[in-house]
Symmetry: C2
Subunit: 460 residues, 2 copies
């Protein structure tokens, strides 16, 4: 194993000598240009201002698709493709919740994505508060009959967003777990690190063979109020949720390319997702990712000579409720062997602090200068391999495509994510541009190299 | 003048020798006790949890009045008084606003206090954006005919809240100024330092002889979105506001006392206001002020010997839309000569950094030790005299009562103030208790002294 890796490294070192004298110098120049380039800000400003929120199945998503084609065109991308697919969609209606007793109080809530509606007259019931999701799971079957289950487990703030997965389980599975125990509805504390009343939505799923009960998230202060009131005595809450579903909605993955100069058939697939939740304007999730990857590729496209391989930016069309990853793989199954690498920017515009490459790539001689290129923008090359390239690259990854991940500071991301507060003003232009600089430098060196990430993986 | 001041100071120095050996030592002990005392937190938690929002004229305000009497009783206050007065009230109804074109978008808004309603079907019109209030004022009469005026001037964040007055003018007077120019409605950017979608309400007034047009505040990101859209082309907005008014509502100022041990007829009037806006739970505005002053007086009341003078805590009943200050003066006109000093805590629970006393008092020998008592909690004694004791003490001040002001760090106050986000979780217990410590120490030394603040004023 060790011998073959060394042999491979030697052969890579030799072949890389045939490339541009110093790709690292070009990457460094791209980095500097990116730090003051207006493209990313223009893209995120334009998408959030002229299209607004753009859930799958909405008229806004159709406008977003047209915006994507125009944006790729205006920025000089070629081979622009609009790949249609279909998926079910869910559309929010009027929603409200109130404390009925001990005194009337309007709660701040938001229905979870794909929740069933309540009856038109709403559901009114006494609440049972669980301070952790584990406590709900520990409740016996039948113990919540006729009650509204309220889970108030807080989310942990963490730079890498690790608190999301831990708390997110109650959003995804909570309704069915509460229903198993007899509950008529579920309210959860928002999966949010904010102290805002504005609640946090996101996708949920129902288990088979369990009654489907309505589920919504409470603003963090509202969840804490219910905790305090329930500690004093019985609390009754009324919940009204309306929504409609469509079994088959049209969606699109839209892509544009910066064609490779030597090996155009070898493709690096990057991008962000064009769809957003229906609240806020999807600025950090994920107009920023769209803007970062588009601007990075555009800067590379502006070079006198394109790198050897093709860069393809994909604006995936259905990340929030799933579908675009599978659709992308289905449409590009035959191309998979030629997809060198895939990665997505989908964690807001917080600064990049680490680049995670496929197994073995950090030590590849073709990327020897990369660490020094990244140092001035405070980015390190991780020794750990990327585990995921992002939700929209999962299909490709499962089909064997190597992935990369530019890790971002998400300390504030979950203050905004999936809430009305996900708006343009939360994007810090200097941080956005630091992302563009990191992506441009990394992408250029990989695109202009002959690294076979699959071979590195095999070599291990 | 100079001679008489010196003579006065000498006489004060002599008479103070007759008091407790070291009032500063007692004040320091109160300060230490206050830093860990649970009273203030208990009060703010209980009021916000069991009563909730409590606008004048609401059923909640009646519950708040009963809560106040019970709280004073439970904490050992005496001479508890409920002083009824009447005033007009205004009650919010359903409110909404949307961008109609270039595409539909639900705006986050809140009606300004005392706005007239729109017609039931709403008002739909093209907007005209002014980036400053001065720009609106510069618009010619007739130039806004049939339009919705939008003023997007931002509020400046400042420790002492100085940005509020500057930006607040557009809230108070903007509707009539827009109406003079022909506008059919006014939207302002929230008078807020937050970047939240949650909008900021507050009182407004109509000028005589000008048509009354509806007025609401936009969430800060919503105001910025309208700015950006208006820069691209015409924008149409639809606004619907409902509200009802009552010419005569019952309100109450409620008070309790810590009776003075030597001069009980000499009264120091302090407090906070019990009423709040109808959104949020009035935690920083002003359950915190109620809690701080009540807890400080309660700690003093717990001493083996009360200070010489009486401390009276007033929970004023109508600060937000005015009325309690005038009512308090009317009910206590005859007592004014005996009211030694008045002050209110009404700026949230941010830490106190400065004590402003009446003119000349900082140098009074009876308060000689006060500066050293305040140093450990990072509070200085200002050399400048207090200009105001707070909105609810204005009547007393105009009648000649000297005032004090404990200046607080309001850096974050206007992120929360008058919005749905004014909730208990925003109160930091350690900061709340630092306020109690500062008030308790200052109040004790003043109450146990014979300082005649009016004489100091006269001496100048």
């Amino acid at each position: 194993m060790r011998i073959s890796l060394l042999a491979l490294a030697a052969s890579l070192a030799l072949s890389s000598a045939a490339f541009a004298a110093d790709p690292a110098a070009t990457a460094a120049a791209l980095r500097e240009k990116a730090l003051t380039d207006p493209t990313a800000w223009t893209v995120v400003e334009d998408l959030t201002t002229t299209v607004g929120p753009r859930p799958v199945g909405s008229p806004a998503m159709t406008r977003a698709k047209d915006w994507a084609v125009k944006t790729f065109t205006d920025l000089g991308f070629t081979d622009i493709k609009v790949e249609e697919f279909s998926k079910p969609s869910w559309t929010r209606g009027a929603e409200s919740a109130s404390i009925v007793g001990p005194y009337p109080f309007k709660l701040s809530i938001i229905g979870l994505g794909e929740t069933v509606p309540t009856p038109a007259k709403g559901i009114e019931a006494e609440i049972v508060v669980f301070k952790t999701y584990a406590a709900l799971l520990a409740a016996p079957v039948g113990s919540l009959t006729g009650k509204i289950a309220v889970v108030t487990q807080p989310m942990v703030r963490a730079q890498d967003g690790a608190g999301y997965g831990v708390a997110g389980v109650m959003r995804r599975n909570g309704a069915s777990e509460a229903a198993k125990r007899g509950a008529v509805a579920l309210l959860i504390r928002s999966i949010s690190t904010s102290d805002s009343r504005l609640a946090h939505t996101g996708i949920m799923r129902y288990a088979a063979d369990v009654p489907k009960i309505p589920a919504a998230a409470l603003g963090v202060p509202d969840a804490e109020l219910l905790e305090r009131l329930a500690a004093r005595g019985p609390v009754r809450v009324k919940l009204s949720l309306a929504s409609t579903t469509s079994a088959k909605t049209v969606a699109w993955n839209i892509s544009g390319e910066i064609k490779g100069s030597a090996k155009p058939e070898e493709v690096i697939v990057i991008g962000g997702h064009l769809d957003s939740w229906d609240v806020g304007t999807g600025a950090v999730d994920d107009a920023s990712g769209i803007a970062i990857t588009t601007a990075a590729a555009k800067l590379i496209g502006d070079l006198p000579t394109h790198p050897r391989r093709t860069l393809r930016v994909v604006m995936w069309g259905s990340e929030e409720s799933g579908g675009s990853s599978e659709a992308y793989l289905a449409a590009h199954k035959d191309e998979v062997p030629n997809i060198v690498l895939a990665g997505e920017s989908d964690f807001g515009a917080g600064r990049v602090y680490s680049v995670m490459l496929p197994q073995g790539a950090a030590a590849a001689p073709q990327l020897k200068g990369l660490a020094d290129v990244m140092t001035p923008i405070s980015v390190l090359i991780s020794r750990d391999p990327a585990r995921s390239g992002g939700a929209d690259t999962e299909g490709l990854q499962q089909a064997g495509v190597p992935v990369l991940s530019l890790r971002q500071d998400g300390t504030r991301y979950f203050d905004l994510h999936h809430s009305e507060d996900d708006t343009l003003d939360k994007v810090v232009p200097a941080e956005l541009n630091q992302n563009v600089a990191a992506w441009a430098a990394v992408l250029y060196m990989i695109a202009d190299s002959d690294i076979d990430f699959r071979a590195l993986k095999d070599a291990k």
